[in-house]
Symmetry: C2
Subunit: 153 residues, 2 copies
């Protein structure tokens, strides 16, 4: 995280941010899956090779979790009081993530609006695209943050 934390007023439609990259290795794919998504395509290389995807692939929830880490390390600016989601409106995994893939996230701010129910906050809607090192999209997400407004001076 770099720079001063953003309040609602610091976000604007069209802003773009980019994360550094992070490598997904087979050990991490299998470790995550053993705990949260224990299926052969995520945990067992020979079984995965014989299955629908022709090899080991990461759980989509692992890709989502790694995307969150990339959002916290440059994919989004730091948010005052913490980056808190108001909800995800779409989350898709158009291509599998395989061992050795190097992922990074690009985001774009789509919409900002005051919160009707909580006057001290605003809503910041954004799109995050997670890509591998070949530029192929492995996750698309559209989500909204709830961000504190700057206190009236």
């Amino acid at each position: 995280m770099t720079g001063a934390p953003f309040n609602y007023e610091d976000f604007a439609v069209g802003q773009r941010f980019a994360s550094p990259s992070g490598r997904m290795d087979a050990a991490a794919i299998k470790e995550f899956a053993a705990e949260f998504d224990p299926q052969p395509q995520h945990t067992n290389e020979p079984a995965a090779a014989a299955g629908r995807f022709g090899g080991l692939i990461a759980s989509g929830w692992h890709t989502a979790a790694v995307t969150m880490r990339l959002l916290m390390t440059g994919g989004l600016p730091p948010v005052a009081g913490g980056t808190v989601g108001a909800g995800v409106e779409s989350l898709n995994w158009p291509r599998p993530v395989r061992p050795g893939d190097v992922l990074s996230v690009k985001t774009e701010i789509l919409e900002t609006r005051p919160s009707r129910s909580r006057p001290a906050y605003g809503l910041v809607r954004f799109r995050a695209e997670t890509r591998n090192e070949r530029g192929e999209t492995v996750q698309e997400m559209t989500s909204t943050l709830i961000v504190p407004r700057r206190a009236a001076g």
Copy 2:
């Protein structure tokens, strides 16, 4: 996982499934967050106590990952060839998950339809509600699986 794996034809609108329960403890909340969502509300009890939520809360992505585990252990039937998502159309966390919460998932099949692009598969849309031991909803998700059709005999 119990019972024979489901093919597309085994799913029907209105079917309901329920997972066993799993406890979220503070160590697991902090461990997940240290790796994927390193923010004080998820990693540091004193800072979390002073913050917006008044105490340590789980990352929403941790709740999502635990929900996947609960879906794989009874929240959904086993699927032939593996439980593979075609996409999530909404994912919300209406209440925080706190240390000691005991989570379980209830699902309902909302829609089944053949895949237009892949004739060997069908799409199974479902809603999954993750609740704590007080019956409060901590995650709502609507998602679609891509499920192999039974081979013509």
